[in-house]
């Protein structure tokens, strides 16, 4: 039965269980997970938050990564940087990030007893953990370390290579012992270098031969090895520590196998550490054993020599002879043992040991770049005299060429450019007066000068002529000669030089000398041994616009020259005076100066190595060249012997070879011209290390490739002179050299007199708190006290500081301190010793452990990055400093450069997650965004109940007000009038109670029914009364009331007989039933009196009623006066017509007819029939008051009370109101009166009953208004 374990309690549960039977936790996997940082819901399958990049499940993520690192192996895991919580400041807590072995200096090194860093065993120090546990993931991860050794490649390529290599199971390059000492426990035994046979004296000699600056660079390499472009991700020490040497057996690290590996990402050049470098990288003389993996430090030809016989044709000439003469002693397991010491006697140890074979070594042939080894080989066989014909043929058929002019089958050139290069040499014909050695020397120089661009034609001509006339073999002469064949030069240039040449041609300001100088890297110039002659320099009169390389190297060498640590050749070449003189001389010659002046140039400008060549030449060939003589005077053998002991054996060897006419190792150009082997004996060139020569060509290629990058990154660096590729060097050394070149270029900018003084180089910033002087002092402090601090180191350290600041590399880690035990400090590299000491001192001064002051950091934060953040120990940084540091653009650039390799979608996802929180916090505006206005809690009350995510207004307003933006807050909260009205209305509706609206709707149905029944009852009663009076006229004996006014009316009617009488029908149809009877009574009376009726009306419908009344009464004569508008005004106008003296106009201004007007003037009576009080009053006031015409008023019962006062005062003769007055006036039947009387009595009765009823019951509520 399968079981599943609860994630919460770990208890077993049956498969299919939904909840844990032990703790009740849900066993079903959730499809979502919430980011602990931003609370964003992410899918369960995501490792990092889709919103902020935070690792969603840190534990699971670490487990996954560790598992993937352990199992998958092929997926490089990018490192992560320390995280900082949002809003949190202060120094990063890197205490937990530093591995114990690095923090305490206690390294479990029981597996590497031979290493110099023989740190305390964990058993002794009490540390029981494995150092690997303390290492960051990226450091432990063995697949992600190859980038350091492939610094010339992008980070992507690095990881790809790592993946490829991991898949193929190829072994990697061993580490030097001094780096092995830093290897934590668990990384396995590191290979030991086979230096057992080297005695201490030898080692010491090698160390002394190494320039201090180089040694320092090498020692600092562990701090700076992450190159600016790619290798930044890890330190060399960290990477070396990760190398799986422990898993690599000696057999696996077979050098030959390693070097012949064509598809190996680790090129032979990378693996070919020179022994001097190896010795300087920390191998102590006490190291007696080394693994075979160290054999990759040797070239192929050399590594194979101890196990198998190296074909003579693959050996260099100088070695071939030695081998044939005295076979190499049997070599046990150490390639160094079988190293032909005889050969090295004539050259410095470090040069001799690093000298590669003349044959193209595998490690160089594997490179995609032009095979400079072959080039060197061919260059040693510089065609002389008779071979020029063959070379011309080779020019025509560049792919086949007999390199040595022998009858050997034609070799296939390594590259097309090589053939063209040789063709160029053929084209550049040497001077006829040249001897074989002279020719060789000139060929080499011509090779150098062939790189030159255009030169002033006149200068070239004069100089070439002068050189030819005087048999001058100086560099200037050859340069001039070579410059004549500009066309051939361009044709002969290899592809990469052609491109470079084209680019330079576009730069009109760049002289041909610049090109030459640009083609030679600064480090090569610096390292040029004596005898290689002064490298072409820009024209002094025509200062080359920014040849930082040469200038930088000059500046640097100016200081280096003062160092006693420099080898003689380097000291001479670095002599500022010599260089300046050389430059001036070269420039003068280059400008076509007088040949006489050029004669002195070699004396001052040619370095020792060239001087030695010339000296040998003078001794052997007895040249009459004044230049050579001058060169000879320049060379002071005593000085060489006294100050440059290490070079004396070389010189002596050269002399011997010259005396012997040796062809293999030709130090001087005095070899026989006819000797085929002498074609390659251009001593000056020969004296250069092979990797130097290889780097010289490769550098140009890389220069061309990285031209745009350099221009972008280092604006003021000028054209292509900046070089950062040193193919002859191992990768890690190549990085250093490249960075050095960049730094030197920057120095040139700052030190160049023409350029603005102390101009800040864009993009280069010193890390705050990191003083270059500190590094300098610290580095010099750990050096031998007996060694004088070279002033040249200042410049170098400045360059390094710049580089460090730009890269954030751990040069400043020197100051980062940690508690290091004394024993460990001794075994650690000096820079790391300083770090540990500083940290220890800091901890002691603060009274707390140094690590305790560190706030926080990521567990995978590399040491060098920690140091690079502040330039000094973070424990020394204050909170503000750290913030400032974090805001540095350089840091951002650095972080941008730390982008993980692009390996598809997974890499993209991981790359986002690489940005830690503390860097995210640096994003502008994050503080404002931190204000969380959203309240995810659902309100429990109010209109928004149950709606989460509602914006909390109060915090928003508070935040605004807190920011002093009260005005903004006011504006934001301003409401319009409409909104205010809406609010008021809403408040009223909310607060107002139930309003009882009176009316039927609010009444009870029973109430409404009762009311209707009541009204219906009233109506029924009235109708009953009316019908009863109509049906029973005699029911009530109602006689017409004796009305006094009837008599008055009858009198007035009688008096107005046969006179016009104005009858106003001012009533509406509504009251027609009440007045029609009176109208009929008056009309009948008027008709009876034969009066002329002039009728009019102020009501529109009155005329219709008048017509009807006229029709019913049939008066004798009737005149329609029409409608009288404007009430009182119209009546007043009408009143004017009553005066017979005034012309009467109609209300419209139209004059009335004469008869009408006369009738109006003669009107004897006015009868007003109206049911409206106002109308009656108007008539009385406007007409009755103006004239004495008697007025009779026939009105309704309602108007009677109003008319009564006017009747009392005599203004109205009589008021006849109601049906009774009409009946009395007209004498109609009394039936209507009976009905009316019954109805009135009924009404009175209903009023009384109603009053009593409501008096008892009470008044209805709805009527209480």
């Amino acid at each position: 039965m399968k079981e599943i374990n609860c994630k919460h309690c770990g208890g077993p549960n049956a498969v299919g269980s939904r909840f844990c039977g032990h703790c009740g936790a849900s066993l079903q996997p959730s499809s979502e997970q919430i980011c602990p940082s931003c609370q964003t819901v992410n899918s369960i399958d995501l490792l990092y938050c889709d919103n902020c990049g935070t690792r969603l499940n840190p534990d699971a993520g670490e487990e996954d990564e560790s598992e993937s690192a352990a199992n998958a192996g092929g997926t490089p895991q990018p490192f992560s940087l320390p995280e900082r919580s949002p809003g949190q400041t202060g120094p990063l807590d890197i205490e937990q990030e530093l591995p114990d072995w690095l923090r305490t200096g206690e390294v479990d090194d029981d597996q590497e007893p031979s290493t110099s860093l023989d740190l305390d065993a964990p058993e002794e120090s009490g540390i029981t953990h494995r150092p690997q546990d303390d290492l960051p993931e990226w450091l432990v991860e063995e697949e992600g370390i190859g980038a350091i050794f492939e610094s010339d490649k992008s980070t992507d390529e690095l990881f790809e290579r790592d993946s490829t290599q991991a898949d193929e199971g190829k072994d990697q390059e061993p580490l030097p012992s001094w780096l092995e000492g830093l290897s934590p426990e668990g990384t396995g035994p590191l290979p030991t270098l086979p230096l057992a046979d080297l005695d201490e004296a030898k080692i010491g000699a090698e160390e002394t031969d190494i320039p201090d600056w180089m040694a320092e660079v090498e020692q600092d390499d562990d701090a700076m090895s992450p190159s600016q472009d790619e290798a930044v991700v890890e330190g060399v020490d960290a990477v070396d520590a990760e190398r799986p040497y422990d898993n690599a057996s000696e057999d696996e690290f077979d050098v030959s196998d390693e070097l012949v590996m064509d598809d190996s990402p680790w090129t032979g050049a990378d693996l070919a550490f020179p022994d001097w470098l190896l010795s300087e990288r920390g191998e102590s003389p006490e190291e007696k054993t080394r693994t075979e993996s160290d054999e990759d430090d040797f070239p192929d030809w050399l590594s194979r020599s101890d196990e198998e016989e190296v074909p003579p044709d693959q050996m260099p000439d100088w070695l071939r002879d030695d081998v044939s003469a005295s076979p190499a002693p049997p070599r046990s397991q150490d390639p160094y043992v079988s190293r032909p010491r005889e050969v090295e006697e004539g050259v410095p140890e470090w040069l001799g040991s690093s000298r590669p074979p003349e044959a193209s070594p595998d490690w160089d042939a594997d490179r995609a770049e032009p095979d400079m080894a072959d080039t060197t080989y061919e260059m040693t066989g510089i065609p002389t005299g008779e071979e020029q014909e063959d070379e011309k043929k080779a020019e025509e058929a560049p792919h086949t060429h007999s390199a040595r002019g022998e009858d050997e089958p034609s070799e296939t050139y390594a590259s097309e450019w090589e053939a063209s290069f040789l063709a160029d040499e053929v084209t550049a014909e040497p001077s006829e007066s040249m001897s074989g050695d002279e020719d060789a020397d000139a060929t080499f120089l011509r090779w150098l000068n062939s790189l030159e661009d255009e030169q002033p034609e006149t200068a070239e001509t004069n100089e070439a002529e002068a050189g030819e006339a005087a048999g001058d073999l100086s560099l200037e002469t050859v340069t001039a000669s070579a410059a004549e064949s500009e066309t051939a030069h361009e044709q002969a240039l290899p592809g990469w030089l052609d491109e470079l040449d084209e680019v330079d041609d576009e730069e009109s300001d760049t002289s041909s000398e610049d090109i030459v100088a640009a083609d030679i890297p600064s480090w090569l110039r610096d390292l040029a041994p004596p005898g290689t002659g002064p490298l072409p320099q820009p024209n002094a009169e025509e200062p080359a616009p920014a040849t930082p390389l040469s200038e930088g190297s000059d500046d640097l060498l100016t200081d280096i020259d003062t160092s006693a640590d420099l080898p003689d050749w380097l000291a001479v070449s670095a002599d500022p005076q010599t260089l300046s003189d050389s430059e001036s001389t070269e420039g003068a010659h280059g400008a076509g100066s007088d040949p006489a002046e050029g004669e002195e140039a070699p004396e001052e400008g040619i370095p020792d190595w060239l001087a030695s060549i010339v000296a040998d030449e003078g001794e052997t060939a007895e040249s009459t060249d004044e230049t050579i003589e001058s060169d000879e005077t320049l060379i002071e053998a005593d000085q060489l012997d006294s100050e440059h002991d290490w070079l004396s054996p070389s010189l002596s060897l050269a002399e011997e070879r010259l005396d012997d006419g040796g062809a293999e190792v030709e130090v001087g150009p005095a070899a026989d011209v006819e000797d085929e082997t002498s074609t390659g004996d251009d001593a000056g060139y020969e004296s250069l290390p092979e990797w130097f020569i290889a780097a010289a060509a490769a550098e140009s290629i890389v220069t061309d490739e990285r031209d745009s990058e350099l221009d972008d990154e280092l604006e003021p660096t000028g054209p292509d002179e900046i070089d950062d590729d040193f193919s002859g060097l191992p990768a890690w050394m190549r990085d250093i050299a490249a960075d050095e070149a960049d730094s030197l270029t920057l120095l040139d900018i700052g030190t160049e007199s023409d350029s603005p003084p102390e101009e800040e180089t864009p993009g280069i910033e010193h890390v705050p708190g990191h003083a270059p002087e500190q590094d300098r002092a610290e580095v010099t402090a750990y050096e031998s006290p007996g060694e004088p601090a070279p002033e040249a180191e200042d410049e170098l350290w400045e360059a390094l500081d710049l580089m460090e600041a730009e890269l954030g590399m751990p040069a400043a880690a020197d100051e980062a301190s940690s508690a290091v035990e004394p024993a460990a400090i001794e075994d650690m590299p000096p820079w790391l010793q300083e770090v540990e000491k500083e940290m220890e001192d800091e901890a002691e001064s603060d009274g707390v452990p140094a690590n305790a002051t560190i706030a926080e950091s990521d567990s995978e934060m590399p040491e060098w990055l920690v140091a690079g953040l502040g330039g000094q120990a973070l424990v020394e940084l204050s909170e503000g400093d750290l913030l400032e540091l974090q805001e540095e653009a350089s840091l951002e650039d650095l972080l941008a450069e730390l982008a993980p390799p692009d390996q598809g979608k997974a890499a993209d996802e991981l790359s986002r997650a690489q940005i830690p929180a503390w860097i995210e916090n640096l994003r502008p505006g994050i503080a404002d965004e931190d204000i969380d206005f959203a309240d995810d809690t659902a309100p429990e009350s109010g209109p928004l109940t149950g709606l989460p995510g509602v914006v909390a207004v109060a915090p928003a307003i508070a935040a605004i007000e807190a920011a002093g933006s009260a005005r903004v807050a006011t504006e934001r909260n301003t409401i319009t009038k409409e909104q205010q009205q809406q609010v008021i209305l809403l408040r009223q509706l909310a607060q107002a109670g139930t309003v009882v609206v009176p009316g039927e709707a609010t009444r009870a149905p029973s109430s409404r029914v009762s009311a209707s029944l009541l009204l219906s009852a009233v109506a029924l009663f009235l109708l009953t009364a009316i019908f009863a009076g109509r049906l029973m006229p005699d029911l009530l004996s109602v006689a017409p009331p004796p009305v006094a006014d009837v008599q008055v009316a009858e009198t007035a009617l009688a008096e107005s007989a046969e006179q016009p009488v104005i009858v106003a029908f001012d009533y509406s149809p509504a009251v027609a039933d009440a007045l029609d009877a009176q109208a009929d009574a008056f009309l009948r009376a008027l008709a009876a009196n034969n009066s002329t009726v002039l009728y009019l009306s102020q009501s529109p419908a009155g005329l219709a009623l008048a017509e009807m009344a006229m029709a019913r009464a049939e008066p004798t004569q009737a005149v329609n006066l029409g409608f009288i508008p404007a009430e009182s005004i119209g009546l007043r106008r009408l009143a004017a017509c009553l005066d017979a003296d005034n012309p009467c106009l109609s209300p419209f201004g139209e004059p009335l007819a004469t008869e009408t007007s006369a009738a109006l003037g003669d009107a004897a009576l006015i009868v007003i029939l109206t049911g409206d009080t106002t109308t009656l009053v108007d008539w009385i006031e406007q007409v009755g008051a103006a004239h004495d015409v008697p007025i009779l008023a026939g009105v309704t019962e309602a108007v009677a009370p109003v008319a009564a006062p006017y009747a009392a005062t005599g203004q109205v003769q009589a008021v006849l109101a109601g049906a009774g007055a009409a009946q009395a006036l007209g004498g109609s039947d009394s039936s209507p009166l009976t009905s009316l009387a019954l109805a009135q009595w009924t009404a009175v009765a209903l009023i009384l009953v109603g009053g009593v009823y409501f008096a008892i019951v009470g008044q209805p509520r709805g009527d209480r208004r």
């Binding site: 039927e1000 409404r1008 209707s1012 009204l1015 219906s1016 009233v1018 109506a1019 009235l1022 109708l1023 009316i1026 019908f1027 109509r1030 509406s1068 509504a1070 009251v1071 039933d1073 009440a1074 029609d1076 009877a1077 529109p1100 419908a1101 005329l1103 409608f1123 009430e1127 009182s1128 007043r1132 109609s1146 419209f1148 201004g1149 139209e1150 004059p1151 049911g1171 009053v1177 009385i1180 006031e1181 406007q1182 009755g1184 008051a1185 103006a1186 309704t1196 019962e1197 309602a1198 108007v1199 009370p1201 006062p1205 006017y1206 009392a1208 005062t1209 005599g1210 203004q1211 109101a1217 109601g1218 049906a1219 039936s1231 209507p1232 009905s1235 009316l1236 109805a1239 009135q1240 009404a1243």
Partner: protein, 212 residues
């Protein structure tokens, strides 16, 4: 069946619709009311046009007998200005004609009231020996005093007794007056009802041959 009979029937139906209000507001009542108002307005319009506007236009166009036809431009302009009252931006132009109407009407009314009501009523009440006239005068004073004291200071405990008595007298007179007016109005209504019922009764009886 002549049109008068049809008219009488329609009148009867509409009358019943109006009286249907006794049982409450109903559409029949509203229909009858609306017909009454509409017909009345239409009739008034027709009368105004036929009796006022057309004669005026005819007089202005034909030259008529008026002394100066251009005089019609003044009332015409004032009428147009009155219509501008409904045009809000220039509604103020209607203020002039309205002011003229109100002013002239008020002036005419005042003159008529003074000359036709106040002075004759005062003169009639001042006749000695007429109790009714004196009563009418006192009733008038009391009514005026009632509006005077009640308008400024309502009667309360602190009001002077005589003032309260005058106020009560004036209020009583008003109530009697309003009662008399209401009774008069009711009487009028009853008269109208009686007349209308009697009319239709007669018509129906006559139609049915019940009566002659």
């Amino acid at each position: 069946m002549n049109l008068e009979f049809v008219g009488t029937v329609i009148g009867l139906i509409l009358t019943l619709f109006i009286y249907s209000y006794v049982v409450g507001d109903n559409p029949l009542y509203r229909l009858a009311v609306h017909l009454l108002v509409g017909v009345s307005a239409a009739y008034a319009t027709v009368v105004a046009v036929d009796r006022i506007l057309l004669p005026a236009i005819r007089n202005a166009v034909d030259g008529g007998t008026s002394t100066n036809p251009l005089l019609w431009l003044v009332p015409a302009a004032l009428a147009v200005l009155l219509l501008l009252r409904y045009v809000r931006p220039i509604s103020w132009l209607a203020d002039g004609p309205v002011g003229a109407l109100v002013g002239i009407g008020a002036a005419v009314a005042v003159v008529g009231v003074v000359a036709g009501t106040v002075l004759p009523q005062v003169a009639g009440a001042a006749q000695p020996g007429d109790f009714l006239s004196l009563l009418a005068a006192l009733a008038t004073v009391f009514a005026l005093l009632y509006f005077h004291f009640t308008s400024t200071a309502p009667t309360n405990e602190n009001t002077a007794p005589w003032k309260a008595g005058l106020s009560v007298m004036g209020r009583s007179i008003l109530m009697i007056t309003f009662g008399a007016l209401f009774a008069s109005a009711l009487t009028t209504s009853i008269v109208i009802l009686s007349e209308r019922v009697t009319f239709y009764f007669d018509e129906v009886a006559s139609f049915l041959g019940l009566i002659q």
